[in-house]
Every structure is written in C-alpha cells, then in structure tokens.
Symmetry: C2
Subunit: 175 residues, 2 copies
Amino acid sequence: MESEPTRVMVAVNESTLKGYPHASISSKKAFEWTLKKIVRSNTSGFKLLLLHVQVQDEDGFDDMDSIYASPDDFRQMRERNKAKGLHLLEFFVKKCHDIGVGCEAWIRKGDPTEVICHEVRRVRPDFLVVGSRGLGPFQKVFVGTVSEFCVKHAECPVITIKRTAEESPQDPADD
Amino acid sequence: MESEPTRVMVAVNESTLKGYPHASISSKKAFEWTLKKIVRSNTSGFKLLLLHVQVQDEDGFDDMDSIYASPDDFRQMRERNKAKGLHLLEFFVKKCHDIGVGCEAWIRKGDPTEVICHEVRRVRPDFLVVGSRGLGPFQKVFVGTVSEFCVKHAECPVITIKRTAEESPQDPADD
C-alpha cells in the first residue's frame, strides 16, 4: 500500500520575453523535468504544489501610462493582475490534469525569494523544485538568482533545474 | 510505455562515529529519503548509482601504528581498505535488492568533492543526491561541506538531504 503522495512544490513565473500568460523557459523546464524524471508513470504517488509569485513592481511598470483616478481603478488593476496569474497557472494545472497527477496552484504577491521560503514553511512540501537560468557569476551580479536563495534558505530539500544551452535565449537574463 | 529509468546518483560515506562498515547518518538518510519520497513503489522507474569515495588520508590515520616493510604490506592495506568500502556498499546494495530497485555501486579514492563531480561528468546521472549534516556557518568553517560544493559545481541537478535534529549526534560534526 502506498503512503501519502510525495508533495512537490514547483515555483513558476512568467516569461520575461513573452509576458503573461506564457511561463518562463526555466520554470517550464523545471516542471517538465519533474514530470519526466521524478513523477514518471507513478501519477498517484505525487502531488504538485504550483506556486506563482507575482512581483508587484514589475506589474507597476506595465501600467506606467494608466491613470488611477478612483479606488475602483486599483481594484480593477488587481483583478487584471490576478487574471494574468491565473492564466499562467492554467497551463501547468491543465498539464497535470491531462496526465492525471494531482495538483494545487495558487498565487502570492511579493518578493519571490521571501514568498517561496514563507510558503515552504507554511505548506511543508517534501521538496521544492526551482528553475534556474544558469547564469554565470558576472551576470548574477545584475539580476540576482531566486534559486540560490532558496537552496540556502528554504526549509526543505531543494532541487534546481537549469535550462540547457539550446533552451536559453540570446540574452541569458531573459527567460 | 516507460522510458529508460531515471538514474539517481547517491553519494555515500562511512560513519565518523562507528567507522566502517557503518554508513554515516546523513548518507543513510539521503538514501532512505530517495527511496521513500522519489522511488516510492515505482521500483522499475529508477536506477540508483551508489558512489562511495574513500578519503585516503583518513585511512592513513587508522593505520598509524602499522609497520610497512614491503610492497606487499601496501598491497594488503589497499585490499583491506577496499574490503571496508565494499562492506559499506553492501548495506545499500542489499536494500536496493530487497525492494527490487536496480543499482550499481562503486568505490573511488580521493577528495570527495572532486571525485563526486568527476563521476557526475563521467556517468551523467539525471540527478545527484547528497546527505548533509546541516551544520551552521560557524561549524562549517572547520569541517567544510561536500554538499555545498556539489550544489555549486556538479554538472547535474543536485538535491541535498539534511539530517533531522533527532538524528544528529551530540557533536554535529560527527555523522
């Protein structure tokens, strides 16, 4: 008899190249790697916990030209952002559904590093999967890496999945 | 139809407390975690690659009072060390055999960090599992950590499994 499924948290974000609702290359890669190499045919043995963190500043930039004249404008903006996040998660949830692996997906706002570590403490997954752009030390200085922070600070085992060279766009900071 | 099994390299070492043939608390933990949380009932979907690195200096210390008078003495020492390593691996291979998961096990000599990264390049596992004592930053200064080096330098995804507080001996540098 199988015990409770292994609960795997996968952090997913939007593509810097294509924007919402497209997932970043590295988070798509991390998700697909998990299905292929860990879950395999044992779909009842695993449950995926899909966390999407929305970075508030970035959304602000998109809406630079918008005019906020009433509290309603802010409510609408929040709803629009939520809808974008939901569209992103839909891709992952649909894939889980298609292959028959259980999943839960949710959105949080804030700094990805802090939010992911906070959510790990809250939901206690068996391990966390994060994608990584695989940047060199020089590139990291400018863009920071969520994966390294999680490896150090998340209170569960963490596995980092890098994009392959063929999957990386011309500017490696893009994703 | 299932594809080729997922090849999981697990680095295992001897206990600093009990010596050969006992495995360290952290490598036993990493191995058991892999079976419980990743392999689960899907024993045909995975193959474990068990690597034991023997540190030559440490063996030297054990044999401090021995007298080496001929080339044969060195040969005997090497054979004794090899036998110790084989006893250690036997524990892991037996467990794999009992639950029906394929495995390969082998011994290498040298610095664990370098050898593990070298063997990753050579055998190309899908990912690497390493145990960790879970030392604090102050303790790390004195004992170093193989797991952190592998996370940074191994050319495959790496997952680090820490011992729990209950599993840790009085001196956390022991294992």
